[in-house]
């Protein structure tokens, strides 16, 4: 019965689902052959996905595997290029979230869709469309909300302004919002990413109550033990495709980890053994907060020697970004010191990092590392335009600059229409080469590369790997931060694993146990 809203049974004061139809085994959701393309990449490739009533289904995959895109398609937020979607056996057109909501589908995004300045009640009431009244019926809404809170044990004061709530409470508001419109399918995108452990336990209780009521939950995650704990069934996505699906009872963490990250290694990197030299990067007891003021990096201590590549593995969002930002100079730290080549860095002061002999290859190259509306040459000049080599008395030495640009473009084989082409006309791989050229040409003592091959094609990836190895052989200390485990294992002399801002463990690069690392990545200590 798409389009119709379930009617609350006022005699019981409960908000139940419509009576189950005779065809009880009809899947609630059936997505067939869904393909979604963005400008130049396929985010979802011929995906089939079904969901049954009362089921908690986990959608497992690495970042960028296409989980969120698929769910945004189901939520009507994205249009899709091929395929069809049926809700309770009837094909539906989901052109906007409005249509998805009318079909009982609710989605809780990773970034909450709440208005911080409004009250809990206001945030929830906006979701309703059943009443044709002009004025807000806050009294009636409050009564209905309190009933739902009682039914599901989700207590949040309706009159509190949302910005005063903790993240965990805000998530409750999001769930209440979906329940208020009587969603029978609840999509939760990485719901535990922002939660404390106790809050996660609470959330799982709620999800189980919902499932017992006959509602269905889609649980998007990359945390294996949580998937094992909460789901009935696991669907694993990789590179926009479904690689496998299993009943949770029939699988285990190791198998899931394999399915999620274990792709065949395409390239064989020649491992070059160099005798490590003296320590060149020392990070001591670093504690860092993220933008939300939560602890992102905890008691982080690290030593890197000349002539070695230290790989930092871990699922994205476990503090790697913040740790790198501190070393890059764009984020301050609560406590801790960093020294490069024996000289301390002034934390939170980018110029100090620039001058320290640290090559910086940032994770977000487009927004942080590059000036997309300026030329290739300008980008090559970003960090040293003021040096005596390229400027005198405030005037730039264009002959010198041009010669240098030409040399770098040739040396790093940057494919461009010339040094004066705008950066945004270059491909991702060549953009990364601009950064490499800028950073490595000064023979740095330390190279810090954060997700250096993310989103790049195989050729560019191999080039960058080769460069990393060359830097190591030259005698630099190299730090490689990546959520691609193959990359880390293929290049590193030593590997540490970060989970929730802490170092879970360290292993030698050659002969490292992939399963062990996979477990550390998902927070399993052993």
């Amino acid at each position: 019965m798409p389009g119709a809203q379930p009617v609350p049974d006022s005699t019981k004061g409960r908000y139940d689902l419509p009576a189950k139809t005779a065809a009880n085994d009809t899947p609630v959701i059936e997505m067939r052959g869904i393909t979604k393309r963005f400008l130049d990449n396929v985010a979802n490739d011929q995906i089939d996905f079904t969901l049954h009533a009362g089921e908690i289904c986990a959608l497992l995959g690495e970042n960028g595997a296409g989980k969120t895109t698929l769910m945004n398609v189901l939520f009507g937020y994205y249009s899709f290029d091929e395929g069809s979607i049926s809700v309770r056996g009837e094909q539906v057109a989901l052109a906007s979230p409005k249509d998805a909501i009318a079909n009982g589908i609710g989605m809780i995004h990773q970034h909450f869709t709440l208005v911080p300045t409004q009250t809990v009640l206001e945030n929830i009431v906006i979701a309703t469309r059943d009443e044709k009244r002009f004025f807000l019926n806050l009294k009636g809404a409050r009564k209905k909300l309190l009933d739902i809170q009682k039914q599901f044990g989700l207590y949040v004061d309706p009159d509190t302004r949302v910005w005063t709530l903790s993240i965990g409470q805000q998530q409750k508001v999001e769930i209440l919002k979906a329940l208020y419109r009587n969603s029978s399918v609840l999509i939760m995108d990485e719901p535990t990413a922002v939660l404390a452990p106790q809050e996660t336990v609470e959330l799982f209780k709620t999800l189980r109550v919902l499932a017992e009521e006959g509602r269905s939950v889609i649980f998007i995650s990359h945390k294996l033990h949580e998937v094992m704990e909460i789901s009935d069934r696991v669907v694993v996505l990789r590179n926009g495709k479904v690689v496998n699906q299993k009943r949770t009872a029939d699988t285990d963490v190791k198998e899931l980890a394999n399915m999620m990250v274990g792709r065949e290694v395409l390239e064989r990197i020649e491992r070059q053994v160099v005798e490590p030299g003296e320590p060149v990067l020392e990070v001591n007891d670093l504690n860092v907060l993220n933008d939300k003021g939560l602890e992102a990096v905890k008691n982080f201590t690290l030593t890197v020697r000349r002539g070695e590549i230290l790989g930092i593995a871990g699922v994205s969002g476990n503090g790697q970004t913040e740790m790198c930002e501190v070393l890059f100079g764009v984020r301050g730290a609560e406590t801790g010191t960093v020294s490069v080549g024996g000289q301390p860095l002034r934390l939170g002061h980018p110029l100090s990092s620039v001058r320290s002999g640290l090559a910086r290859i940032p994770e977000d190259r487009i927004h942080m590392g590059l000036l997309m509306d300026m030329t290739v040459e300008d980008n090559l000049q970003l960090e040293n335009h003021w040096t005596g080599r390229f400027a005198r008395n405030g005037l730039r030495k264009f002959d010198e600059i041009a010669a240098n640009s030409q040399t770098l473009i040739t040396d790093y084989s940057i494919k461009t229409d010339g040094k004066d082409a705008p950066a945004k006309s270059l491909s991702g791989g060549n953009l990364q080469k601009i950064i490499l050229a800028r950073e490595l040409s000064s023979e740095p003592e330390v190279v810090l590369a954060s997700q250096p091959t993310r989103g790049l094609d195989v050729g560019a990836t191999e080039y960058i790997h080769q460069r990393m190895v060359e830097e190591k052989v030259r005698g630099a200390g190299v730090v490689l931060v990546s959520d691609d485990l193959d990359e880390v294992m293929g290049l590193s002399d030593r590997i540490i694993v970060m989970y929730e801002g802490e170092i879970m463990g360290e292993v030698a690069g050659s002969g490292a146990d992939r399963e062990q690392i996979g477990l550390w990545m998902t927070g399993v200590k052993s």
Binding site: L39, G329, L351, V354, R355, L371, E383, L395
Partner: protein
């Protein structure tokens, strides 16, 4: 159902960047036919007198340059600020700040020679405009105050400060309306061409075009201000002191606008009065946009606007089309230019569902 979507595309570069403003000007001139026709003007006659009135005689041609001078200064002021994404809507106020200080120096000049007074009023006016622009720049960098609104509001603050001065300490003895004493002869810009008002401020404006072009393209500072404008996060990441860049940008931007005010006092009016500027500062915003924020483009756009302004007077006399059509054309030019710039970044896609 048909939906219209904007889809990002690779912007055209090189010569197209020059073509965009040219196309905008042509389109605007074509669109101007609508108000001309509504006003009952003969189309070809109107266009003829528009250009004849601005360029057809020696006097009119020089007058076009006279009117272009303040527009070049305010256009440069806005373009220089916008380039670093300092949204200076306050060129009008900075112009007045420059004019007030120039008048004050010019009134107090006594018997000092021109060689002293002329540099004094220029430097004084430049600094006054710069200081007035530094206020919102400081508010932006230190206190996170939106620069658009603060620069706009400061225009009215300085307007009232000027009003208070013109009714108070600067008021001409015996006058009952807001007007100052005249500045001394030695403080006035010399007229460079006989039988005209072609004054020192005009070559000065063109010199400013060159100087700004030089700063933008040849200096370390020019590189930094552009980097800040393009991506302030990347600029900071690259080790650039973004606060200092924005402040210096504001000083130069405000200074340029201040020089526009100096010119109006020292070459046109010879005293300060409340309607010194017919909105040169606001027109400067349109000119900056039309000139694509490039100093040479600004110079050309300012001359174009001056042609429209001066020419519309003749057109009005000869065809009866009100001279206020110049305001309509200017407003249209900005909107057309905005849309053309957008079309350089996006293409329109029609989706049938």
């Amino acid at each position: 159902m048909i939906r219209i979507q904007l889809v990002k595309r690779t912007p055209l570069t090189g010569w197209y960047r020059v073509l965009v403003p040219l196309l905008a000007v042509v389109t605007t001139l074509v669109l101007s036919a609508i108000p001309i026709l509504i006003a009952g003007g003969n189309l070809w006659q109107s266009y003829y007198y528009l250009f004849y009135g601005a360029l057809g005689t020696r006097f009119n041609l020089l007058e076009t340059f006279v009117k272009a001078s303040p527009l070049i200064f305010t256009g440069l002021a806005v373009a220089f600020a916008f380039r670093a994404k300092f949204w200076n809507i306050g060129a009008e106020g900075q112009l007045l700040a420059g004019a007030i200080v120039a008048t004050w120096i010019g009134m107090a000049g006594g018997s000092a020679p021109a060689i002293v007074l002329l540099p004094s009023i220029m430097i004084g006016g430049f600094l006054a405009g710069g200081a007035w622009a530094a206020v919102p720049a400081l508010l932006k960098t230190k206190l996170n105050v939106d620069d658009v609104v603060s620069t706009l509001l400061l225009n009215f603050v300085i307007l009232h400060i000027m009003g208070a001065l013109l009714f108070g300490p600067m008021q001409k003895t015996g006058a009952s309306w807001p007007i100052s004493e005249e500045i001394v002869e030695a403080a006035r810009y010399p007229i460079l061409l006989a039988r005209s008002r072609f004054h020192l401020g005009i070559p000065l404006a063109f010199a400013a075009v060159l100087v700004i072009w030089f700063i933008n393209s040849k200096t370390v500072f020019g590189f930094r201000s552009r980097a800040v404008g393009v991506n302030i996060h990347a600029a900071r990441y690259g080790g650039i002191n973004t606060t200092s860049v924005i402040l210096k940008t504001a000083l130069i931007s405000g200074g340029l606008a201040g020089l526009a005010g100096v010119g109006e006092v020292a070459a046109i009016q010879y005293h300060l009065l409340s309607d010194l500027s017919p909105g040169y500062g606001y027109t400067g915003i349109v000119i900056a946009m039309l000139g694509n924020l490039h100093p040479v483009g600004v110079g050309l756009a300012a001359i174009f606007f001056s042609i429209i302004n001066v020419g519309s007077q003749t057109m009005s006399r000869m065809t009866g089309v009100p001279s206020y059509i110049s305001g309509v054309i200017e407003g249209m030019a900005l909107i057309v230019m905005l849309i053309f710039l957008l079309m350089n970044e996006y293409k329109v896609r029609v989706v049938r569902k």
